[in-house]
């Protein structure tokens, strides 16, 4: 593999922009959002995927073409719809493995796991991207190396800043925190930032944690991954405990907006870019 360079990254971005023109031959479908974002970023011919309404709100990028058929819920995909979309190949993850037997009736199924106990999702996402691209005859280098390049560039901006506590509010009194084995944790390490959460997690995120716990981390920067439940905004404005927190009083709370918490390389870039943007602003 050649050393990534700015030129290669630009070439990769250009390739992404030209995506619709390079009609890949295999029609592919997937049940998993991490795979969907990877396939879209690779420029694959995606014919069907799950929960597109919510994907557009939470994962946001890459944009999903209107031609992709919505298969409904990830936990209960519409096999009839998938059958009629006539894919040549289906990608599936360990999360939805219970659907594999049904999927195999429609097309061959390729499986990858990004989030497993004790696993490192970034390296797994790189391997998955390379594997999917090879299977489809596409070039994985722009995405893999472009992501590495992007993180390396952002690292120069933010490395050595305060430790970051990546959290996601569930309700006004609870959040889940993302540990070292989450995609966010891995990205923080690559940005040269410490993850303030050093305790164990279960499958990358540790829920639910009472908001009092934030008092244990007075010096950190709190990175809030969206979307927030509606009553949280109200709480953030009013609750005496939240208002008294040193991180809040010093303005060290970064509201990052929605990011897919169980994503692949495109989500990693989105997290890094939004976080670096907020650090630059703070």
């Amino acid at each position: 593999m050649t050393r990534p360079s700015r030129r290669r990254v630009l070439a990769g971005i250009a390739a992404l922009a030209a995506m619709p023109a390079r009609a890949a031959t295999a029609r592919v479908a997937t049940l998993d959002w991490a795979m969907l974002e990877t396939l879209l970023a690779l420029g694959a011919d995606v014919v069907a995927a799950t929960e597109l309404v919510l994907f557009r709100q939470i994962a946001v990028e890459p944009p999903v073409p209107a031609t992709v058929a919505d298969l409904g819920l990830r936990g209960a995909p519409n096999f009839e719809m998938l059958r009629l979309a006539r894919p040549d190949l289906i990608f599936n993850s360990n999360f939805y493995a219970r659907s594999n037997a049904r999927l195999a009736l429609i097309a061959p199924v390729d499986s990858y796991s990004l989030y497993v106990a004790g696993g490192a999702p970034y390296a797994l996402a790189e391997a998955m991207t390379a594997g999917m691209a090879a299977r489809l005859g596409l070039d994985a280098a722009p995405l893999i190396e472009g992501t590495g390049e992007c993180l390396a560039r952002l690292r120069k901006q933010v490395a050595g800043d305060r430790p970051v506590l990546p959290i996601n509010f569930g309700d006004p009194r609870h959040f889940r925190v993302f540990g070292a084995d989450s995609m966010f944790g891995e990205v923080l390490a690559r940005l040269g930032l410490a993850n303030a959460w050093t305790q164990p997690t279960s499958y990358s995120a540790m829920p639910p944690i009472g908001i009092e716990t934030l008092a244990q981390f007075p010096d950190v920067r709190i990175a809030v991954i969206g979307p927030e439940p509606p009553d949280v905004a109200d709480m953030l404005g009013r609750a005496p405990f939240w208002q008294a927190l040193p991180q809040v009083r010093a303005g060290r709370v970064a509201m990052l907006g929605p990011i897919n918490p169980f994503g692949a390389l495109p989500s990693a870039v989105r997290f890094a870019r939004l976080l670096a943007g907020r650090l630059g602003a703070a």
């Binding site: 929960e51 919510l54 939470i58 919505d70 298969l71 409904g72 819920l73 990830r74 936990g75 209960a76 995909p77 519409n78 096999f79 009839e80 719809m81 059958r83 009629l84 360990n94 999360f95 493995a97 219970r98 659907s99 037997a101 049904r102 796991s113 989030y115 497993v116 996601n168 569930g170 309700d171 009194r173 609870h174 889940r176 279960s202 499958y203 995120a205 829920p207 639910p208 944690i209 009472g210 009092e212 716990t213 008092a215 244990q216 007075p218 010096d219 979307p227 439940p229 509606p230 009553d231 905004a233 109200d234 609750a239 005496p240 405990f241 939240w242 008294a244 040193p246 918490p261 169980f262």
Partner: protein, 655 residues
């Protein structure tokens, strides 16, 4: 009141205070700069720790009072806010508002939940009004509403993906506080509710004499019941609104009071709030102490059921048979002239539904009737799920018929017996141990969980010769225990929670040939021998004495029927999840249609159960295509209204 009460309650109060003191003494230190740590610690102490202790006491007391009132006026020892649908109704409106009208939740989370609780009870009352608020009808309507509301909540949660964490924590009753608002609200509710209950002491004593006697003494029975019911609901809805569903306290507190020797209504009413406050406070302190840091190992509301379930099971040993609930109920007094022909008619309807399910559907372009190539294309996906639905419906209906016949209790159903929930616990255990297990492992785990639950229920039931109350009550306790384990795992979120949620919602979507054959063979093997047990089914509802007098070995008959019912339930809920209403509804529909003899009712219930789930499966496929709604939801939406209509058609028997 016996000498036991002061001793037990005195001990309870001391223990609760000691644990609270320990919580304060061992609260985790705030790290960092000393001055800042002191400020934060003070805020935590005044704005979080103290209000939380107060909320535990107040919510427990309110639930205890609500439970005591409900059990008294409904004259049913297992009535509580959850069996009336109050908690589930509140949860549903909150879920709906979170998903579709977030502004309302931001405006008043409490108001939204309260509206749901009140709406639920209004529906339950309206449904049972024509039956003179007959206790059994009230509970039946409440339980059906609960199931429908839970199914709808799960559907919305599934459709909305990432908001689930919030809903589960709220649903599980987390007591964390950030201020005094909820404590003050609960205190006001409790004070008002307590005063109202105090004024009702005399009428409540009269109600214990029975409707006719009470009316003779000049008490407007309906008006009074309505009033007492409203007070109880208002209390329970307030608790649900402030801290979520706290399982079990409303059920356990009055039972605990009676165990301590309280017999007269004023004693039970006075002691139940105290018992409820102690139960919830002790549970919450235990959770805090065993969690160590700031986070909790489990939401307190789930923990009350974890701790309360075994406690109630233990309490049951001391409960003597008590008044036998007459197997009142719901028979419309109609009898079919030729049940055989009617069953054949029902069967042909079922066959037509099956055919319709195979050919009718939707695609990206609209509706279609699949023939030729399209039919063959879609057959591998449609046939297995329809067969699974039909088989599961038949098995659940058979299980429900057996349970209702053997207990003489119209509320009995696989859901109430806790067997489905036990299967869910088995699934949760497998998911926790193996991470991402393969399907056979998951099925094995669920079967073990269901059979273990059956074993416990039977072991407890055996001590009372399988007396109806004991069996039902232990089933309810175990079911609550199982559901609280599931809620805790769900609150843990992640993919494990998501997989459990998918099973809970009751989807036939993943059914393949293996599931179809499993369902078909199990249904055939387990249901086919049942007609030979027709005599047992006819004699058992008449009561132990009559059964034994007619030469029936009541104990053995109950044991055999219980095992068959549990097996039927275990396999059916492996296939379609635990939320189905079929086990409750189908036997009722059969009986209300006029199938009176045990064998006829069983056959009709099996056919009706299969038809209901076939219909539900088809609806779940097409209603919000391409998204799919859980089967359990449509089972309750199809069966519930029909049952309600039939219940009401019976007219006002009391008036």
């Amino acid at each position: 009141m016996t000498a036991r009460a002061p001793l037990v309650f005195g001990g309870g109060i001391v223990a609760a205070l000691a644990l609270l003191a320990a919580v304060v003494a061992f609260r985790p230190p705030v790290p960092g700069d000393a001055a800042l740590a002191m400020v934060l610690d003070r805020i935590l102490f005044w704005q979080s720790l103290l209000p939380r202790a107060a909320v535990a006491l107040l919510a427990g007391a309110a639930l205890g009072l609500a439970g005591a009132l409900l059990q008294r006026i409904l004259r049913n020892p297992i009535a509580d806010p959850s069996t009336l649908g109050i908690a589930a109704g509140a949860q549903l409106t909150l879920t709906l508002a979170t998903a579709f009208a977030p502004g309302l939740v931001a405006l008043s989370r409490e108001g939204v939940a309260l509206a749901g609780g009140l709406a639920a009870v209004a529906i339950v009352l309206a449904l049972s009004w024509r039956r003179g608020l007959d206790p059994v009808t009230v509970i039946l309507s409440g339980m059906m509403l609960s199931l429908v509301a839970s199914a709808l909540s799960v559907t919305v949660v599934l459709a909305k993906g990432d908001y689930v964490m919030s809903l589960f924590i709220w649903g599980a009753g987390a007591l964390d506080q950030q201020g005094w608002g909820p404590a003050v609200t609960l205190a006001l509710h409790l004070a008002a509710g307590g005063i109202a209950a105090g004024l009702m002491l005399r009428p409540l004593a009269l109600l214990g004499l029975g409707d006719a006697a009470a009316r003779g003494l000049g008490l407007a029975v309906q008006t009074f019941r309505l009033l007492a019911l409203l007070v109880a609901v208002w209390l329970a809805a307030a608790v649900t609104a402030e801290v979520g569903i706290i399982a079990f306290v409303g059920l356990a507190a009055p039972a605990f009071a009676r165990f301590c020797g309280a017999r007269r209504p004023d004693a039970v009413l006075a002691l139940s709030p105290l018992a409820g406050a102690l139960i919830l406070s002790l549970t919450d302190s235990t959770i805090r102490l065993s969690s160590g840091g700031f986070g909790d190992i489990a939401p307190t509301g789930a923990a009350t059921a974890l701790l309360g379930g075994p406690v109630l099971l233990w309490l049951l040993r001391g409960v003597h048979g008590g008044r036998r609930q007459p197997a009142d109920a719901t028979v419309a007094g109609r009898r079919l002239a030729s049940p055989g022909r009617a069953i054949a008619l029902l069967a042909s309807v079922a066959a037509l539904l099956l055919l319709g399910g195979l050919v009718a559907g939707r695609d990206a372009g609209g509706w279609h009737v699949a023939t030729g190539g399209l039919f063959l294309d879609l057959l591998p996906f449609r046939a297995p799920r329809l067969i699974v639905a039909a088989a599961a419906g038949a098995m659940l209906a058979a299980a429900g018929t057996l349970l209702q016949r053997m207990t003489g209790n119209p509320m009995a159903s696989p859901e109430v017996m806790g067997i489905s929930a036990g299967g869910g616990v088995g699934l949760a255990a497998v998911l926790s141990l193996a991470g991402f297990p393969d399907p056979p492992t998951m099925i094995a785990g669920m079967a073990i969980g269901a059979l273990a639950t059956l074993g416990i229920v039977l072991a407890i039931g055996a001590r009372s010769g399988f007396g109806p109350e004991r069996l039902l009550l232990s089933g309810v306790a175990l079911g609550a225990f199982g559901m609280s384990v599931l809620t805790t795992v769900l609150a843990g979120g992640g993919m494990r929670g998501y997989m459990l949620l998918a099973w809970l919602s009751g989807s036939t979507n993943d059914a393949g040939p293996v599931e179809a054959w499993t369902g078909a063979i199990a249904a055939a093997v387990l249901i086919a021998p049942l007609p030979f047990l027709g005599r047992w089914l006819d004699l058992l509802p008449l009561g132990d004495a009559i059964g034994a007098g007619l030469g029936l070995s009541v104990r053995r008959a109950r044991l055999v029927l219980a095992i068959v019912a549990a097996l039927l339930t275990a396999i059916a809920s492996l296939l379609v999840g635990p939320l189905s209403l079929v086990g409750l509804v189908a036997p009722h529909l059969a009986r209300l249609t006029g199938f009176v003899r045990g064998r006829d009712q069983l056959a009709a219930a099996v056919v009706i159960g299969a038809s209901l789930l076939i219909l539900a499966d088809w609806f779940s496929r097409v209603v919000i295509f391409p998204y799919q709604v859980p089967l359990g939801l449509f089972a309750s939406l199809v069966g519930g209204p029909y049952l309600i209509w039939l219940l009401n058609r019976g007219g006002n028997r009391h008036g």
